[in-house]
Amino acid sequence: MYVLRRLPSLIATLLAVSILTFLMTSLLPGDPALQILGAENATPEAIAAVRSELSLDDPLPVRYLHWIGDALTGDFGRSYRTNEPVSQAIIERLPVTAEIGLLAIVIALAIAIPVGMLSAYRAGTRTDKVISSTSFGLLAVPNFMVAILLILVFAVWLGVLPATGWVNFTDNPVQNLRSALLPALSLAIAEMAVYTRLLRTDMIATLQQDFVTMARVKGVSNRRILFRHALRPSSFSLLTVAGVQVGAIIGGSVVIETLFAVPGVGRLLLEAVLVRDLLMVQGVALVIAVSYVVVNFTVDILYSYLDPRISHGRSSARV
């Protein structure tokens, strides 16, 4: 089965990611022991005591094996800084980032699909040109600018959405959605532009194919041609890129969660890096990497749903 065949490379990827994450964080300048004690208490003896308590003086391979061994059993250790279990911190924060990220993708697709199709259908017209230049414009605006503008308009001027903050879904679903909307929108804007451009290009190619002409000849309505016949074969690049762009969304969440003061994994990661909270950084980076790999793995599987001709089990063809 396809999933099983891909499993070894999946595991190799994750192993490489875990080693790289570990090495990068361990080799960063800046002693975690100093961060824990604070500069004023950092006598050589106190530093030595903390370093030995955290096993920071062991050789790197020993530390890695110790960490990954525990991590495989779900024990990522406790944060140097806050003393909370790393796994608990991630479990509390992952849903926040996932909700905002998913909402961003849904918003981006909901707008990009009709707009991209319209652009392709009207290729070369003024509508198409306006859409194209707008998407390029949006692509060029960094997400933190978008975020500040959105806050200014929707929170400060109109007062319809909160500027910052987070309400848990379990506390109040409506307020939860309101607090997620602006962060998601900030992330969605650039994605939307990418999706629109991709869908337009693929759809123009699809619309020139024989089966579309055939459908037209048979008198099928434009709407039906676009949505029922052309959309599915035009969405390969879109799906691939949507998978890859999950990385961009996770990266963007570091900035967006800080701006909107939202308690997600991006902000957790940023603050952990700044204070050399090594176990927290390693745990979060590993979880992010796993999610990324899993998402793209899922995208691979979705291909066969989009185009049943692709059968991963038999053919060696890769899309």
């Binding site: 002693d31 910052t164 903050g165 848990n168 003061a261 700044l274």
Partner: protein, 559 residues
């Protein structure tokens, strides 16, 4: 104190402020413009913002407060209480000691604090019938447990503050003795910070590893819930030891790290109060409608430290060249502080009782000719300390953490020093490594903040006697002598003179450079009142909002 204290012109404004005239006075000065008390009329006016009418206290209501950052733990000994953490602590805990408007340290939660003759034993008496939020009585045993099990425990982050305290001994139920290993007249000042915030020993023991996430103090508000990086919810302590306080029913603290979005949250009404230590944000908060700004010019100052242990910076002429070459008002302008903060010349701001006019005049100010003289003199000295051939220009690296405004500052420094002939390389060093470089003295010249509130002995001892916090590596007999006086006498005039001597020595030997004092601000929706009006139980006026920290028990809201 109302309408208050960004008093940069001298003690007379402080006096007026304390009887409620500052708002009126500053308003008049701003309109008239012809106030002749300020000396040089071309200097940018450093003034303060008006504050709305306060009215009578109102019971009830809740507020949300936007903080600069989250705090790692709420337990003294493990919590890193910087400005945002300290302001939260003033809701959860009560400080045993606190500073008055006149800069004196007095008992707050404690009833009394008395030294023996040579300041080696301090006897602290507690008030009767004070309880922690969990009902545990506040007594000598509680203080001892805090001290032995947390504050002096291995890895405690207040170890340095309590280094001279050999033991805490219980005398009777409400009395303890702090036994010091050496005389320290400034010891009570240590108990204004986290070593002096009693917490319930029973609750801390029960919570174990998670004690930092379940704070139980004696403060005006008690802990309800905490979601890290999102919100900390507190409710009124119905059993508070101060009759009639607190006024509010509850407070929610929310860390909002970004300056722009924190201010936007205040303007959109998502939060009622915010704190900031950034000069640019203070300027914008002053312009916001319906916002009162409670500002405080603290002793903390931006600037640079010079590593006096390595050549060529071990030579005074080089340090003087560096200092005379820079135009401090231009540097202040780069960080957005023009009109907010005066030039800094010493470890104490003009608002501090320890400010010295003489030291201020002695500190080098912008004079390129003198800078060039000092520089040329060193460079052409056959005996120059760096061993380079005569005439060789100096070349060194200036380190600073990655931050847009610090980046601009570095470039300005670079241009001033290059003008003398120095070759200055700018190097960006991430914060954690930057601090480590300072401790290891593994740098030449770098960005650094100096000065803090609290007793001058503690600040100056750390900065100028051998130890990890002497980042510049500078010390001198004059400073040692001044510190000895500070350590052994409680007489305010004698202590002021000692600090002035130390400040003078620093001005003459320039181990560091300044870029203005830091003006801090608690910006509030104008329905939030009495933000800086806290008092001691005997009615003595408190020190307001130092470093944008607030005594929340005294705050009320009118809607």
């Amino acid at each position: 104190m109302r309408g208050h204290p960004r008093l940069t012109k001298g003690p007379w404004r402080r006096t007026l402020a304390s009887i409620g005239l500052a708002g009126l006075l500053l308003g008049t000065a701003a309109c008239g413009g012809g106030d002749d008390s300020g000396g040089d009329s071309s200097a940018p006016e450093v003034g303060s913002d008006d504050i709305s009418e306060q009215g009578d206290p109102v019971e009830g209501g809740s507020i949300t407060v936007g903080l600069e950052a989250e705090t790692n733990s709420w337990l003294p000994g493990t919590g890193s209480f910087s400005n945002p953490g300290t302001t939260v602590a003033y809701a959860l805990y009560d400080p045993l000691m606190k500073q008055t408007a006149d800069g004196e340290v007095r008992p707050y939660l404690a009833e009394s604090m008395e030294p023996n003759e040579d300041f080696t034993t301090w006897t602290l008496t507690l008030r009767p019938d004070v309880q922690f939020h969990d009902g545990t009585p506040l007594n000598g045993d509680a203080l001892k447990s805090n001290f032995d099990d947390h504050l002096k425990a291995p890895g405690s982050n207040v170890a340095n503050s309590l280094a001279d305290v050999a033991s805490l001994d219980v005398v009777d139920d409400l009395t303890v003795e702090y036994k010091l290993s050496a005389p320290n007249a400034a010891f009570p000042s240590v108990l204004t910070d986290s070593p002096g915030w009693p917490f319930s020993p029973t609750a801390a023991a029960a919570a174990g590893e998670d004690a930092g996430a379940n704070p139980v103090g004696t403060g005006p508000f008690r802990f309800v819930s905490w979601q890290r990086d999102s919100n900390l919810v507190l409710e009124k302590n119905e059993n508070y030891w101060q009759e009639g306080l607190p006024y509010l029913d509850g407070i929610t603290f929310r860390p909002i790290p970004d300056e722009d979005t924190r201010l936007a949250s205040l303007q959109s009404g998502d939060i009622d109060v915010m704190q900031t230590l950034r000069q640019g944000t203070v300027a914008r908060a002053r312009e916001a409608d319906g916002v009162d700004n409670y500002e405080y010019l603290g002793n903390n100052s931006g600037g640079s430290i010079i590593n006096t242990t390595v050549p060529p910076f071990d030579d005074l002429r080089v340090r003087q060249a560096l200092a005379y070459a820079i135009d401090q008002p231009a540097l202040i302008d780069v960080i957005g502080g023009t009109g907010l903060t005066p030039e800094a010349t010493q470890y104490f701001s003009p608002d501090s009782p320890f400010y010295s006019e003489e030291a201020a005049e002695a500190f080098p100010t912008f004079d390129t000719e003198r800078a060039q003289e000092f520089y040329d003199d060193y460079v052409n000295d056959p005996q120059r300390s760096d061993g380079q051939p005569v005439g060789t220009d100096l070349s060194f690296t200036y380190n600073c953490p990655p931050d847009p405004s610090l980046n601009e500052l570095s470039q300005l420094y670079q241009s001033y020093w290059s003008a003398l002939g120095m070759q200055v390389e700018l190097n960006t060093v991430e914060q954690a490594a930057h601090i480590q470089n300072g401790i290891a003295k593994d740098y030449e010249v770098q960005c650094w903040r100096v000065g803090e509130e609290g007793d001058p002995y503690n600040t100056l001892k750390d900065a100028f006697t051998p130890g990890p916090l002497n980042f510049t590596g500078y010390s001198s007999p004059a400073i040692d002598e001044g510190l000895e006086t500070l350590r052994t006498t409680a007489d305010l005039e004698a202590r002021k003179a000692a600090v002035a001597d130390i400040s003078m020595d620093i001005s003459e030997n320039v181990p560091n450079l300044f870029t203005g004092y830091t003006l801090t601000d608690v910006a509030v929706r104008d329905a939030v009142k009495n933000v800086d009006g806290w008092e001691f139980p005997d009615g003595t006026a408190g020190d307001g909002v130092p470093g944008a920290t607030t005594m929340w028990g005294f705050v009320w809201v009118t809607d």
